[in-house]
Symmetry: C2
């Protein structure tokens, strides 16, 4: 059987589970690329499926399209990305993932105590403090133990 040739936008949508409009959108944002037929219709290479998969996975982890675009931009323009290319990408995100996991763990482990503790000094709460804008701009009185 002949290798599957190019995919239409509809086929990519069907296979990736992403709406056609979203694919258009990704393309406009430079996350995926296509070339056009004589009749101006999009045709995608098979690697677009992988790209889209990566995009969705990354999104699920909370990476914004802009960040994803930046990461994907590092992939070779001309050729099909190698295992090496993808691997590099995944390694970078893996670190971010690790951070995120640790953050959530910390949160989870502190959650019950911190929410349920009944303490009145919320501004001393270790959970709260981690992104406390006040800590940065603090005028003094509100200033707490630096982490």
């Amino acid at each position: 059987m002949a290798p599957v040739r190019e995919l239409t936008v509809g086929q990519v949508a069907a296979r990736s589970g992403v709406a056609v409009s979203a694919l258009h959108f990704y393309e406009a944002r430079g996350l995926i690329h296509s070339h056009r037929t004589a009749g101006n219709q999009r045709r995608y290479g098979r690697d677009v499926l992988r790209r889209v998969a990566v995009i969705r996975i990354a999104q699920e982890v909370g990476i914004s399209l802009a960040e994803i675009a930046a990461a994907l931009a590092a992939l070779p323009e001309g050729r099909t990305p190698t295992r090496e290319d993808w691997s590099q990408l995944s390694t970078a995100w893996r670190d971010g993932l690790d951070d995120k996991i640790n953050q959530l763990k910390k949160l989870r482990d502190g959650l019950t105590d911190c929410i349920g503790c009944g303490c009145m000094s919320i501004d001393k709460c270790p959970l709260r403090n981690k992104d406390d804008r006040l800590a940065r701009e603090g005028t003094g009185a509100r200033r707490l133990v630096a982490r």
Copy 2:
């Protein structure tokens, strides 16, 4: 200084690190409540600080304001929430957190293999499959024929 009984919106903003506009917004969304002075200015009880803290924490974990509102709605209207009340809430969110952590772990552990594996059958990918609409509607024919 005498113990502060009621807080103005500005004081809440200062102590919670949340913008006044955001507090207005939360109030409009029913996440927090206030009563008004004769001059129509908001006055908050001290428990609002806790509420706001909980809101921000929950948001950070990826819970939407709508969901937070629903959870907070379960808190007693009339009285200051007890430790019990908060604890119940945190326990519920804790479960969600656990799920999220596990999901991320799975993602992390599969990421390098799955993104970097070089395999061509993306629709068989364990990562992708977890939310694959196609897998549910799949006719079987769409099963990847291609390399």
